[in-house]
């Protein structure tokens, strides 16, 4: 049985979305800036998509700027606001829950002379609004807090933090890549100034993202050039991808509640079954989390081994273990939550989508415990972490 349980990585493209895109990959190839009918068609398609995306997050269409990805939107927001407001202050606040596409631009800003505060979460991966409040200085111009973590599923109190920022005239950005299309997101209700999103997180194409920029918010472009996207993002538009993002947003809006109910049922069943296994810890917030997201740390074994054995059974999941990362470092998110690195080694994440079924969950609940058992038989710590320090010079004991 094939079970794709890695929806935080990406989602398949929906058939209806592909169909909507096809004409723009074929005969409707016009440049949206052209004045003849081919160009007008392309331009109208983009404006239609803009309205569809705006509809999903309750913004005005004019507040949506299309980008090539969620990562670009994050870069755009951080760098664009920091540069636009640098003469008012040079302090930026982000959290340790952020994606690389926030953390790395933040480090870049430090090189440009900005000061960045990295706020720690609690053990559930939750950012206390008070800890943001405490980090604010007279110099603070920008706060960026992820809406929900793809690694541990925790949903952050973005509305409260946006309020704190607003009272102090600080621009507030949220990375909504993991939430838009997965839970209801209303930018007016949240009160955010900017929000990033990515189409492939809700069954749209890769190569399409967007940044919501509240009307009146000044920002410096990331890509300078022509007048596309109101001069805020130059480059001939990726019309098929944008059309796909719009269509995916429209469909998602209609079916969001059904999807949430569906994936939550699958998630709850999986969590129930997995938590019966010894020495498995649930990571992230128990209730306040993405509905289709389950994350654990399985003690005494390593994540890549689990992924490979699961994959041999047709089950595809993710891990934040050191061995699975290119940098060979345990996920900074897990470490910042206070999970010791040897426990983070056993990180495993399942994320569900519309096409998953209860049969797949039951199948996984048959296979997964056996995989854990097999890997534990190979582990020198099968009976516990005793003696951990004798070999692992770099592993600190619990």
């Amino acid at each position: 049985m094939e079970c794709y349980f890695d929806h935080v990585a990406t989602n398949p493209l929906r058939e209806e979305v592909l169909e909507a895109m096809m004409p723009f990959l074929r005969e409707e190839f016009g440049n949206p800036l052209s004045v003849y009918p081919l160009g007008i068609k392309a331009r109208e398609a983009i404006e239609n998509a803009r309205a569809q995306v705006a509809g999903l997050i309750n913004s005005k269409p004019s507040e949506i700027v299309f980008t090539s990805s969620g990562a670009e939107a994050n870069n755009f927001a951080l760098r664009g606001i920091a540069l636009a407001r640098q003469y008012e202050g040079k302090h930026v606040i982000v959290t340790r829950m952020e994606h690389h596409s926030i953390l790395n631009p933040a480090r870049f800003l430090e090189k440009l002379g900005f000061t960045v505060t990295y706020v720690n979460p609690d053990k559930y991966g939750f950012i206390d609004p008070d800890s943001i409040k405490k980090a604010i200085t007279d110099e603070t111009i920008l706060i960026s807090v992820i809406h929900a973590s793809p690694e541990v599923g925790t949903i952050e109190p973005v509305k409260e933090i946006a309020q704190i920022a607003k009272e102090r005239n600080i621009t507030f950005h949220t990375d909504g890549v993991a939430t838009v299309g997965n839970i209801p997101v209303d930018v007016k209700d949240l009160g955010v100034d900017l929000m990033s999103m990515a189409a492939h997180q809700f069954y749209g194409p890769k190569g399409a993202g967007a940044l919501y920029i509240r009307e009146g918010q000044r920002i410096i472009p990331l890509i300078f050039g022509g007048i596309q996207e109101g001069g805020r993002r130059a480059g001939t538009e990726n019309v098929p991808a944008i059309v796909g993002m719009g269509k995916a947003a429209e469909i998602t809006k209609e079916e969001l509640h059904r999807k949430m109910e569906h994936v939550k049922k699958l998630r709850d069943r999986l969590v129930d079954g997995v938590m019966k296994i010894d020495n498995v810890h649930f990571t992230g917030h128990p209730e306040n989390r993405l509905p289709g997201h389950a994350s654990f740390c399985v003690e005494f074994i390593e994540g890549e081994g689990m992924l490979l054995m699961l994959s041999a059974k047709g089950i595809y999941a993710a891990s934040g273990s050191a061995c699975t990362s290119k940098a060979l470092k345990a996920s900074p998110v897990l470490l910042s939550m206070g999970i010791p690195s040897h426990v983070a080694h056993g990180s495993i994440v399942f994320s569900f989508g519309l096409e998953n079924t209860m049969e797949q969950i039951e199948y996984t609940l048959e296979e997964f415990p056996q995989i854990i058992k097999r890997l534990r038989e190979l582990s020198p710590y099968a009976k516990g972490w005793e003696g951990l320090e004798e070999g692992g010079t770099c592993i600190q004991k619990k």
Partner: protein
């Protein structure tokens, strides 16, 4: 990303488990990613007659452990000391570049197990 040999040794690891009457034990932690391998050897007339392992680590680390226990069996201690991390990786049909450090784990654990055997022997 892994070769057929790596996947085979990972999915069906040879010589797994503890050896209560081991003559030498080597434990090595991997400072790069934090993994640990424990290697047990049984020695007779300066020849390794049996080897077992326990590994807390990635697929490559498990495959390396399994392969090295196969490679040392029947070898004299001097021959076993010649087994380098490159040789283990080669026997596995190669390792991805970012996984080369995992083969260190095996070679170093083996060296420690042999040292452990020798020092125990000296004490007797």
């Amino acid at each position: 990303m892994y070769t057929k040999e790596v996947m085979d040794h990972f999915m069906n690891p040879r010589n797994v488990g503890e050896m209560p009457d081991a003559d030498g034990i080597g434990v090595e932690g991997n400072p790069v990613c934090g993994d640990v391998m424990k290697l047990f050897i049984k020695v007779k007339d300066d020849r390794i007659v049996d080897a077992k392992f326990q590994t807390f680590g990635c697929g490559a680390a498990i495959a390396v452990s399994s392969m090295i226990t196969e490679m040392v069996k029947g070898k004299t201690l001097d021959e076993a000391l010649e087994i380098s991390k490159e040789k283990v990786a080669e026997a596995l049909g190669g390792l991805p570049p970012q996984k080369m450090h995992c083969s260190n784990l095996g070679a170093d654990a083996l060296r420690k197990a042999i040292e452990d055997y020798k020092s125990k022997k000296r004490q007797n």
